[in-house]
Each structure stands twice: as structure tokens, then as C-alpha cells.
Amino acid sequence: MNREIPNGKLDLIFDIRQDGSTYISRQFYKLPMQVLPPHYQDEDGTAFVYMLNPSGGILENDYFEMNFDLKNGANVVLTTPSANKIYKMNSEAALQKTIIRLEKNTVLEYIPEHNIPYANSMFCQETDFFIEKGANLFAWDILSSGRITRGESFDYSYYTANMNFFINDILILREKIKIEPKQFSVRALGVFEDMSILACCYLYSEKLSSNFSDSVFEKLKTFTNLNSGVTLIEPDFMTVKILGNKIADIQEAVVEVWSLARKGILDKKATRIRK
């Protein structure tokens, strides 16, 4: 397959109308990627947008590319309706590349559902955030070990996920996940240990403070069946890592972090998204 041309593409540019609500000013999609029209559940005109993959999952040789640009104070919640299933592959991995650009004064809440790598899948995910100082970002990335309820856990061939966060074109954080369960022990002390699901949350805002990160830490301490930590890698950049064994527990925890971020940093009310 020609890896230079994606077989699925989604490009969206977000802008604001005169009434201050956010809309998709320009869009392009190539199936199987597509997007539903935004809906609005915040009073400030934040656009809630679902990114769709109607094929149901990611297959061998798939190459999906997504570009999202937020301009002129746009406020967007980007999510997916269900978990991203990564199917079995025989020889060629699937690749998903996402580039997100935030102008200052924009707000993006990038909260896709979790990835489920099926047995014998091979997947590479690359996500780059180019953020102008003064923008606000809340994002999460959640990885399950497989179809856990079917007894599949760490049965995939490999999974890599690279996330780069640039603030004013300076690389602030590079997260690299590289897991090859057949090559090294995921259960070793320091890696997954006795946990199976990893969630990472990222919050960038000039309104961040150590008091806020302490409040997130205190909230996560109440989830006694999860192993979690919070850190301010820079005064305006917070990361959270959470390990657990049940997706429902992880989802409840990340939604709590998101709610705290909405109320404490993003000047919005906590909300739920119907899925």
C-alpha cells in the first residue's frame, strides 16, 4: 500500500460566528473518516464534535490522517462515539496521524474514547499539538490492554503512540509509548505491573496553578483501586497518569479530572457527553 496517501482523512477548521458560537468553517473528509455536524450543550457556544469511523475499527494497512485547526477564539470538544478497535493484522501495521493547531484564546477539549488493540494487531499513533501561548488545551489518551472481558490482554503484537506538545513551536513534552508484549514483560515492576489500562491527561493553560494540581491529586486519591499521579512539568502544563483494571473506573476518573479542569481552569460547567 502507498503509505504516503492516507486511505482515511479528516480535516476541520474551527472559527467563531458573530454570536460567539464555534462552527466548522471548513471541512474535508475521506471515508471511512467523517464527522457529524456539531451540537451545542454549553452556553458559551462550544462546538461538540464527533469524529467518526463507520468501518467500525482500524484494519491492516489503514493510514488515517486528521488535521484540526482552531482559530479566533474557537471552543471545541472533540470526541469519538465509541472505543477505537484495532483489529488483527498479518504483516502490515496501521497508522493514525493527527495534527492539532491552536491559536491563542482558543479552547480545545480533545477527549476520544479509548483504544482497544485486539490480539495480533500492530498500530502506530502519532499526535502533534502545536499550541500558541494563551490557548487552552485539555486532552486525554486512554489505552486498554485488549478485549479484557474476553480474556484478551496484551495479546497484540505492538502498539506505539507518540504525542508531542509544542508551545510557540518549542517542544515541551514528548510522550512515547512503545509496547511489544511478546518482546518484553509488560508486568514488570515499573511498567504496567498488575494493571491493564493506562490513561494520560494533559492540561495546558496559563491559568494553571499548583493549588489546582493539588486538588486533582486529592480527587484521584479517592479512587483507591487506581494507581495515579499528577505533576506540573511546567507551571502552565499539567500531566496526569492513571493505571487501572476496569475501563469504567478509568473513565470515571478521567471525567472527574476533566470536570475539575472545566470548572477550575476553562471557565465552563462540568458536563457529560451522551454516547
Binding site: 515541551i172 514488570a188 511498567v191 497518569k241
Partner: protein, 230 residues
């Protein structure tokens, strides 16, 4: 530099007595012992092995080698890029602060010992910018500037990191002195393998995935009492 001189330099810089606070850091171990997750030698060995398989062997040691080569070729732009990248790869505040403190401390002392050495240019640069001064990068460029061979240099770096962790383990796990020395000898083979592999890793390949260690480092920030700075 001949072999004997190299050995003496490396024993001085990486032997544990160079005053950069290397023994003030537990790199997450203190969180594990606080939770009683690492309280015997088997678990501690696993902690060391994961460190060697991830951040130490796949980020820090390769960074020493890359900095060494960039210094040899006079490529200051690449040195600065590498230093920034190493900062970006560190997942927690304590790990970033520890590396920066040790690196800048090392460079300052090195430059007082060798005031005519070209490494002083990098110290000047650090003083005037936000660039990290990460220990692995600074160590790599310093040993390169003295023409110490890269095999010995990266092996010494790895050994001293494991040795510092073992010193923390003696206090925290705790370990008796004889079993801690046997443990160190037991790591010789893995250290040599890591040192060889580190010389082949490019900047793009730098990565060490250890989420539980990251969380332990994050949790260390909030421990009620701490013997160590990280």
C-alpha cells in the same frame, strides 16, 4: 587521553564523590518503599532492571553518546536540540529538576577545573538561556571534550546511575551491604549490553516507557516525609 587517565577521570566524575547531589535522588524508589511495594532484593532488582530497560538505557545513556558525538563534531545546534529534547522526554517535574540540577552543577564544577576548555562555551550558553543542562547531555559533552573513549564513558555513566540507586536501596528497601555489592556485580553484564546498544540509538528513537515509574515519581512530590529530593 590514555587509558589510566581515563579511568581516573571517570572515577572522579562518575564515582559518586563528585559533588553534584547524585545521592540525593531515588528516582521513584522512595515512593515504592513508602507503599511497601519494594521491600526485598528481588523486587529491588526488578526496579533496577526496569530503569535500565527504559529511561536509563533507552534515553539517558543514548543521550550521553549523542552529546559525545555532537561535541566531537563541534555541532552546537544539535547539542542544544538534544538538551531540549531530553527535557521534553522527562515525564515529571522532579525528574526534570533533578537532571537539570545535577547537570548544571556538574558543568559549573567542570568548568572551574578546566577553565580553558571549550565546554565553558556551553556553560555560558546555559547561563543565558532556558536550555536544560540535563546531566546526561552535560556528562557526554564533558567526557568528549577530554577525549575519554565513548565505551568507557557511557559504561561509567550507566554504572554510576545503578550504583547511586543501590545506595538509595541500602537505606530504603533496606539491603545489607554484602547483598547490595553482589547485586551490583550481577548487573555488570546488562550494563555492558546497554552501553553497546546506547551507541546505536538515534534522537528519534529515544524513548523509555515505564508508566508505573512515572507515577511513582509523581507521587514522590506529595510524600509527607522524604529522605530524597526525587
Amino acid at each position: 587521553m590514555d587509558n589510566i587517565d581515563s579511568i581516573m577521570h571517570l572515577m572522579q566524575f562518575a564515582g559518586g564523590s563528585f559533588p553534584i547531589g547524585g545521592f540525593s535522588h531515588s528516582f521513584g524508589l522512595e515512593s515504592y518503599t513508602e507503599k511497601n511495594s519494594v521491600r526485598n532484593i528481588a523486587k529491588f532488582r526488578e526496579f533496577l532492571q526496569t530503569s535500565l530497560n527504559t529511561s536509563l538505557g533507552c534515553v539517558e545513556a543514548p543521550a550521553v553518546c549523542l552529546a559525545y558525538r555532537y561535541m566531537q563534531s563541534g555541532d552546537s545546534d544539535s547539542l542544544i536540540r538534544l538538551d531540549n529534547l531530553i527535557t521534553a522526554l522527562k515525564p515529571t517535574m522532579e525528574l526534570r529538576q533533578a537532571s537539570r540540577k545535577m547537570g548544571r552543577g556538574f558543568l559549573k564544577i567542570f568548568c572551574e577545573l578546566y577553565p580553558e576548555n571549550i565546554v565553558n562555551d556551553y556553560l555560558y550558553y546555559l547561563k543565558n538561556t532556558n536550555v536544560g543542562g540535563n546531566y546526561s547531555v552535560v556528562f557526554g559533552l564533558a567526557v568528549s571534550a577530554l577525549n575519554i573513549d565513548i565505551d568507557s564513558a557511557v559504561t561509567a555513566y550507566l554504572y554510576s546511575s545503578i550504583s547511586a540507586a543501590v545506595q538509595a536501596g541500602i537505606k530504603l528497601v533496606p539491603l545489607c551491604r554484602i547483598e547490595s555489592q553482589k547485586l551490583l556485580i550481577g548487573f555488570y553484564g546488562n550494563i555492558k549490553l546497554c552501553a553497546e546498544a546506547a551507541q546505536t540509538i538515534s534522537e528519534e528513537e529515544l524513548s523509555g516507557f515505564s508508566p508505573s515509574l512515572d507515577i511513582a515519581s509523581m507521587q514522590h512530590e506529595k510524600l509527607y516525609t522524604r529522605l530524597y529530593m526525587s
